[in-house]
């Protein structure tokens, strides 16, 4: 690349252009300390000294430079000393100087400064103590050192989910279970739901009687039936209407419903807050390329890497990334050059393949539906232990199989659709996400279909009370089974697939080992696994209040399983997953899971009539009815206020105001973008102007010098002084021909 030889003249042996050193903008580059041979540079090193009139006397000390110095000094005074990019000795000098100046201040401001300093130190100590309490801090540091920041983000995501589930459990426990447990101790009087004699409220006990064989306990544990059904674990146990404490009455159904809504909101807010920084950047960066190259080069090297093999891998992965990106650019160019005929062909192919994908998805969903129905029917008759268990877990097995096969199909198909490589990865991932999360919804829908379909066509109680006296517990059991199965699969895959693979690759030298290769920690698939588990938790907590606790323990154990398999079996991925965009990706997938989880919960609360035989909502048609009934019992003022908020007039006006605000913000963003572009152009022009002026000035100086040394001859000023920075005619290369005239 051609360098602008106006600036870099050292190679030619000519002295540096002292004009540039005196520019105010160069004063801010305080660090450029050359050995004391060049006087001007040393002066620049400490911002306190003046500019001497070294070179061209006309310049000397400009007021501009002095003003700039003053500004710098006041700026540095306001910042703590440690934030100055200077070596220790200079920082010490600065600190002493400030102390000197501080002595001149009044005692009030001295005291203010010292208190500020001590407060800051206290705050730092406090933060340090808090960060020591962080869960798994040491483990995550070790992982970061060995595998870099991409995989680190996965583990910190896992830690975030553990905390989220724990908080959800605390919410549920504190507002639903604690009052029931403490009622006898706090002299509370619980009134239970008893609607006897009614056909719908007949709840046959499912606990086993007589001599129970041991393996039946295991079946019960794994399927949530039997002895587990009538425990705190499931919805059916909470048959409490109200609890009368001495000072107040506690409305348990209302609390149950509000806690459900609260934990969904809490998850939403926490996730959005966590993804806010990443999202803001993605929004703000309206440049096409998202600064990807600069990001890779300047922030590319992971300084946390400490061993040689990791360093080598990092190098090769960086090389691979760069080559892929450059390749991608070339492909984009190629795509832009496509002819119309090619475009038509590609679109037709894509349409066919997308239809094929939809067909595959439909087939999977249908098989889940069939499996659920079959499993529900088969649970009525008991054959033997193993077969019973398989029938219980049939939906989970089908879902897991479908989630295993479909990614392979998708990654095969996407190769024919001829997208750019980055888009391929993202699109396949989106399809897998959609597949995984929607399969839970399909399971629930087929379950509800079973629950609300009766023999005579029209259900007496609103649901099939013969087969499902307490259908919420049944749904809770299905969610419980899904969660347990998911956990078993993760553990089993680790033990039975990953460890043997490592052993085979290490000790066996056959072709199979070479083809299979060592395990790579595939971040997207692992993230999908845990988001799937979290979605089950969100859906299932309404029906199985202890599910968050089980989820917390499950993720806690999964952390250690994944850490062990990572350290022992895996090598770092050759296709690196960028940490920054990966954080955004994780949280985006989690948000999709949350959105998909809200749908079944809402339908379950608002649409389907709750069972009359169990649970807190016996006296209501649907679970949602608690709220309107409670609102109607509130005092008049609060009631009218709440009714006004939920009326149509309020909703429509809120919608209109939000739309207006959005349009305003979009217009503002557009205006800012235009201003930024204008400023950019102005910067470019100003840079050119500066170079042009310096060239002219140096020319003028040299012609002055030539004239004053008595050259006498007239030289033409070069008309070729083009302001283009690529011009070869740098000032010191222009040798004015001796017989041309100069215009002074």
């Amino acid at each position: 690349m051609e360098r602008d030889s106006v600036f870099h003249n050292d190679r030619l042996g000519a002295p540096r252009n002292p004009l540039l050193d005196q520019l105010p903008s160069y004063q801010s580059l305080l660090y450029r300390r050359k050995p004391s041979a060049s006087g001007s540079n040393k002066r620049r090193g400490s911002s306190r000294t003046r500019l001497g009139s070294s070179s061209s006397g006309k310049w000397g000390q400009t007021t501009l430079a002095r003003q700039h110095e003053e500004k710098l000094r006041t700026q540095t005074l306001q910042r703590p000393v440690r934030e100055l990019p200077k070596p220790m000795a200079e920082k010490r000098r600065d600190k002493d100087q400030r102390l000197e100046q501080a002595k001149d201040l009044s005692s009030w401001s001295q005291w203010k400064q010292s208190t500020r300093r001590t407060l800051r130190r206290l705050k730092e100590d406090g933060f340090e103590m808090l960060s020591n309490l962080e869960l798994w801090r040491g483990d995550i540091h070790v992982i970061e050192g060995m595998f870099g920041t991409g995989i680190l983000s996965y583990f910190s995501f896992l830690r975030f989910l553990v905390l989220l589930n724990f908080i959800m459990f605390l919410l549920m426990f504190g507002f639903v279970m604690l009052p029931i447990i403490t009622a006898p101790h706090a002299s509370g009087n619980t009134t239970f739901n008893h609607v006897d004699g009614f056909e719908c409220s007949n709840y046959p006990s499912t606990s086993r009687r007589g001599l129970v064989v041991f393996h039946q306990h295991i079946t019960d544990l794994l399927s949530g039936a039997g002895f587990l059904e009538q425990t705190y674990l499931f919805y059916g146990y909470y048959k409490v209407e109200t609890i009368h404490f001495p000072k107040f009455t506690y409305n348990l159904p209302l609390a149950y419903l509000l806690v459900t809504i609260a934990y969904l909101f809490l998850s939403l807010i926490w996730i959005v807050k966590r993804s806010a920084t990443g999202f803001k950047r993605k929004l703000v960066q309206d440049e096409d390329r998202f600064q990807s190259f600069c990001n890779k080069i300047f922030a590319g090297w992971d300084f946390c890497i400490v061993n040689d093999s990791a360093a080598r891998l990092k190098r090769s992965s960086l090389l691979y990334e760069l080559k892929t990106d450059l390749e991608e650019e070339r492909i984009k160019q190629k795509i832009a050059d496509r002819t119309r005929k090619e475009k038509c062909r590609i679109y037709v192919i894509r349409l066919i393949l997308n239809l094929f994908v939809i067909a595959v998805l439909a087939a999977c969903f249908y098989s889940i539906y069939i499996a659920t129905n079959f499993s529900q029917k088969a649970q009525m008759t008991k054959v033997n232990f193993i077969l019973d268990l398989i029938y219980e877990y049939l939906p989970s097995i089908v879902i897991t199989l479908a989630n295993f096969i479909t990614p392979l199909i998708f990654s095969l198909i996407i190769q024919f659709e001829d997208y750019s490589p980055a888009f391929e990865i993202r699109f396949t991932l989106m399809r897998c996400v959609f597949m995984r999360l929607t399969s839970i919804c399909v399971l629930l829908v087929s379950l509800w279909g079973q629950i609300t379909s009766c023999q005579e066509g029209n259900c007496v109680c609103g649901y099939n009370h013969i087969l499902y006296p307490c259908w919420e517990s049944r749904v809770g059991q299905e969610m419980y089974k899904l969660m347990i199965f998911d956990f078993i699969i993760i553990g089993a895959v680790t033990v039975f697939v990953e460890f043997p693979r490592k052993l085979i690759v290490d000790y066996c030298d056959c072709g199979l080992a070479k083809w299979w290769g060592q395990q790579e920690f595939a971040i997207p698939q692992n993230v999908l696994e845990i988001v799937y588990g979290q979605t089950i938790c969100w859906i299932g907590t309404f029906y199985c209040p202890l599910l968050p606790a089980i989820c917390t323990i499950k993720y806690f154990i999964i952390f250690y399983i994944k850490k062990v398999t990572l350290v022992n079996n895996c090598r770092p991925a050759t296709r690196p997953f960028r940490a920054s965009s990966s954080n955004f990706f994780f949280l985006a997938v989690l948000l999709i899971g949350l959105a998909l989880a809200c749908v079944p919960v809402t339908i379950g609360i608002a649409q389907i009539s709750c069972s009359q035989a169990c649970g807190p909502f016996v006296n209501y048609t649907t679970s949602w009815e608690v709220l309107p009934r409670t609102v109607s019992q509130l005092p008049a003022g609060a009631r009218t206020f709440l009714l006004a908020i939920s009326s149509e007039a309020f909703a429509v006006s809120l919608f209109v105001i939000t739309c207006l605000a959005m349009f305003y913000v979009i217009a503002l963003a557009g205006a800012h973008k235009r201003v930024i572009n204008q400023l950019r152009e102005q910067l470019v022009m100003d840079g050119r102007d500066k170079r042009f002026l310096i060239q002219k000035l140096c020319q003028a100086q040299r012609t002055c010098a030539i004239i004053s040394t008595g050259a006498g001859s007239q030289s033409h000023s070069s008309d070729r002084v083009s302001p283009s920075y690529r011009s070869n005619s740098g000032v010191f290369l222009i040798q004015p021909p001796p017989d041309s005239a100069t215009h002074v």
Binding site: D4, L29, Y31, E124, I297, F303, C304, E329, Y725
Partner: protein, 190 residues
């Protein structure tokens, strides 16, 4: 100066705490590591030669280790040797609590291979080669290198003078989400 095997004085410790981003434990740990580097040498030396610093495990696999030593060294001989205070400056700039401005300032100096105050094409080429490797088969082809450098300059060179100066660099870095994460070093080893 405190570079002997004896303990650091209390006022010196608090002064270092004020002048750097390191905590008390980190400063003591740094002192221990620095003394270990000195232990085989003459006790009266005030600075550790560059080769010894490069033998630290955290720096050994870092492609920029020589530049780091040169940037943080205040020795007059320009040989990259570090005194204890230089060492503390190094750790402070790479610690977790250092500001983005400090990190970007020192990163700019580290990437500026010819020390002229701007990142031009030659600096960028050396930078990319450091990142990808020294051997022939791990380098980019000249064509790719040209494409890459023109892409970088297009993204970061605002005033279109063909070089990246400090403010342009800091502007790019402030919008780079990976930077702070990647430029945090060690000092966690107990």
């Amino acid at each position: 100066m405190g570079t002997t095997a004896s303990q650091l004085g209390k006022d010196l410790l608090s002064e270092y705490q004020e002048l750097t981003f390191l905590t008390k434990q980190e400063i003591l740990l740094a002192h221990k590591r620095y003394s270990e580097l000195l232990s085989k040498e003459d006790r009266n030396l005030t600075s550790v030669p560059m080769e010894k610093v490069l033998s630290l495990p955290e720096l050994k696999s870092n492609p920029f280790r020589k530049r780091i030593c040169h940037v943080f060294s205040t020795s007059d001989m320009k040989d990259g040797s570090l005194t204890f205070e230089d060492f503390l400056d190094l750790l402070s700039a790479f610690s977790d609590s250092a500001t983005l401005e400090i990190k970007s300032h020192y990163a700019f100096r580290i990437f500026d291979f010819d020390d002229d105050g701007t990142l031009d094409g030659g600096d960028l080429e050396k930078l990319v080669n450091c990142l990808t490797g020294k051997t022939e088969d791990t380098r980019l082809t000249p064509e790719e290198m040209r494409q890459l450098i023109s892409n970088i300059l297009e993204e970061s060179d605002i005033d279109k003078d063909g070089t990246v100066n400090l403010s342009e660099f800091q502007h790019v870095i402030s919008r780079s989400p990976d930077f702070v994460r990647a430029k945090s070093l060690f000092c966690r080893t107990a």
